[in-house]
């Protein structure tokens, strides 16, 4: 190689470096390689170019594999998002008027009463009892949460499991704003 550019070394190819597979396909067909090619290629770049976002070496990402119906894949993807976070589910908690936020692990609690008690203890306030009709009416504070859609919801309306899977952060509202919620 007299040429400093060393074009052969930088050539974009489908084979392992050093192999002389002729360029016959115009379209890249990843399935044509053996899987070990795919795996080993993942662990080192075959060209000087930077291949971003290639699959990490240990994981194989092949079209149609594993052979699972797309319906099932779609269902479990949704659940994956829910069940994730096995090591704790920390969410921010803000209280109107407080100088800084706190964080709590929702996974620690098994029910709404437990959670509300913990919040009351943490912030030294009284939230009171939940009723479906009136929310937390009668109390100075109302616990609310931001759900996956970005909406602010009253804590307590949905089943517990549904709540912890959709809660992104908590906000304890205070005063007239809080009381206003009960009238909705």
């Amino acid at each position: 190689m007299e040429n400093d550019l060393n074009l052969k070394a930088t050539e974009l190819r489908l084979g392992l470096p050093g192999s002389d597979e002729p360029e016959r396909q115009m379209i890249p067909r990843p399935n044509k390689r053996t899987l070990s090619d795919i795996v080993s290629e993942g662990s080192r770049s075959t060209t000087e170019e930077d291949h971003q976002d290639t699959a990490p070496p240990a994981k194989l990402q092949i079209v149609g594999w594993p052979p699972v119906r797309s319906y099932r894949k779609n269902c479990l993807q949704g659940k994956k998002d829910e069940v994730e976070g096995g090591t704790g589910m920390y969410v921010k908690v803000s209280v109107d008027g407080a100088p800084y936020l706190r964080k709590i692990d929702l996974k620690v609690y098994r029910s709404y009463p437990q959670l509300l008690l913990a919040l009351e203890n943490m912030f030294k306030l009284t939230i009171g009892a939940y009723s479906e009709r009136e929310g937390y009416n009668g109390s100075d504070y109302a616990p609310t949460y931001e759900d996956r859609d970005g909406d602010w919801m009253l804590v307590g309306d949905v089943p517990w499991e549904m709540f912890i899977s959709s809660c992104k952060r908590l906000r304890i509202m205070k005063g007239s704003e809080a009381r206003g919620l009960g009238c909705v």
Partner: protein, 572 residues
Amino acid sequence: MNYFPDEVLEHVFDFITSHKDRNSVSLVCKSWYKIERYSRQRVFIGNCYSISPERLIARFPGLKSLTLKGKPHFADFNLVPHDWGGFVYPWIEALAKSRIGLEELRLKRMVVSDESLELLSKSFVNFKSLVLVSCEGFTTDGLAAIAANCRFLRELDLQENEVDDHRGHWLSCFPESCTSLISLNFACLRGEVNLGALERLVSRSPNLKSLRLNRAVPLDTLQKLLMRAPQLVDLGIGSYVHDPFSEAYNKLKIAIQRCKSIRSLSGFLEVAPHCMSAIYPICGNLTFLNLSYAPGLHGNKLMKLIQHCRKLQRLWILDCIGDKGLGVVALTCKELQELRVFPSDPFEAGNAAVTEEGLVLVSAGCPKLNSLLYFCQQMTNAALITVAKNCPNFIRFRLCILDPIKPDPVTNQPLDEGFGAIVQSCKGLKRLSLSGLLTDQVFLYIGMYAEQLEMLSIAFAADSDKGMLYVLNGCKKLRKLEIRDCPFGDAALLEDVGKYETMRSLWMSSCEVTLGGCKAVAEKMPSLNVEIIDESEQMEFNLDDKQKVDKMYLYRTLVGHRKDAPEYVWIL
């Protein structure tokens, strides 16, 4: 037999119900053919492009029940483009124009539009049963038409379909006069349903035996439904999330205990694992349990549940059950015939929680096992040999190692010997799916021993054409062969083209077959449709016969080239 009047023969034929047997009967002589065709009520068409609706109607004027399958099996795994075909509309249109009194329609992997459902609902006065499996193309509007117009509907069974849910009131479209429902399955719908309408519908359906709910049906509605339908035999629970100290939960416990007929349980699409004890009273009677959509249920809670299910014959589960959990199955479920273990994480290869150990345990504990679908982390030859010895009765054996070319991790050998043991031991094997590192040798075994094999699925296997040739030469009863990413080329494809006429279909993708090879098959066998599926449009620009074909699907047909193929499908 020539001396019997037609009515007698017809009466005799009434006892012959299997499609295969009736097909055989029709081949005996002209007279039998005639009697058989007029008396035939149920027809099964495994490939909707093998025959036309017109010919079906002409031959079987007494048709009442039709089963149709559309897309090839690998369409389930996104290997077939969306609009490849399999449209049901022309069938319904033709049947509607005829005098056929259709009562039952069962479709698999077909494209079903709302227009077809509407036409179906309005064209057949006695229509009773609609079963859609893995179909797409319709919305809840189509379901509303079925509900509203099919006055004697008995069965609406939707399994794993992609439905565009308009959150309309399709359930409310069942008129008050509709009291004939026996089976209602809408578990695959993602949207809200009118709970009041559902409760009223169940209340006025005294014959309801099978009810599978979707995620949007909460626990307290479930409890009300069970109170109204204690005669249920098959139940699919939607949402199973509640506070174990609530009134709703107590009511549910009572309701479940009244349901003494439940033999089949599924769903738990949303589940609170610490509330499963309410289910225990009915577990002892269950013969079918499907928890494959409940990843929230695992560990001890799952094992405790299974320990109550001593009569299980079929179990569908996720791999989070683990080898240990499968050990519990082996100890508890002595009547087990079918086991399916699905991956709980189908996106990341290499994370399955079951290995060969779990399978060996089940094979040792469940001698009646005859049907298996098993997604696992790894497999060994020793394990497969043991399984083959323990369970010689396999009819279906589908193994999927998540890393598709993984060898035996203990010996580092291919899995040829293991699968060889399976086909040699299981003389009744009809369906086989292979995975793991495999050479031509396993195909030699398959060709030699798998005499009853009807369907074979191969991926990332073999070394040469010999593999495919062993199979084509050896498996006399082969009907469906589907192959991906194997080094099989024209030599194998062209060795015995007559064989394909004895089969329903052959799929080959990412193999070594060329355009020229496919053309040769098409030329020699006019009774086959040879389809080249090429979305990249390479075929347009490069008509070189030496070009490798990415996807080829060929099937026998009596009606020549289909007219509804999209642009990227070439029929040679």
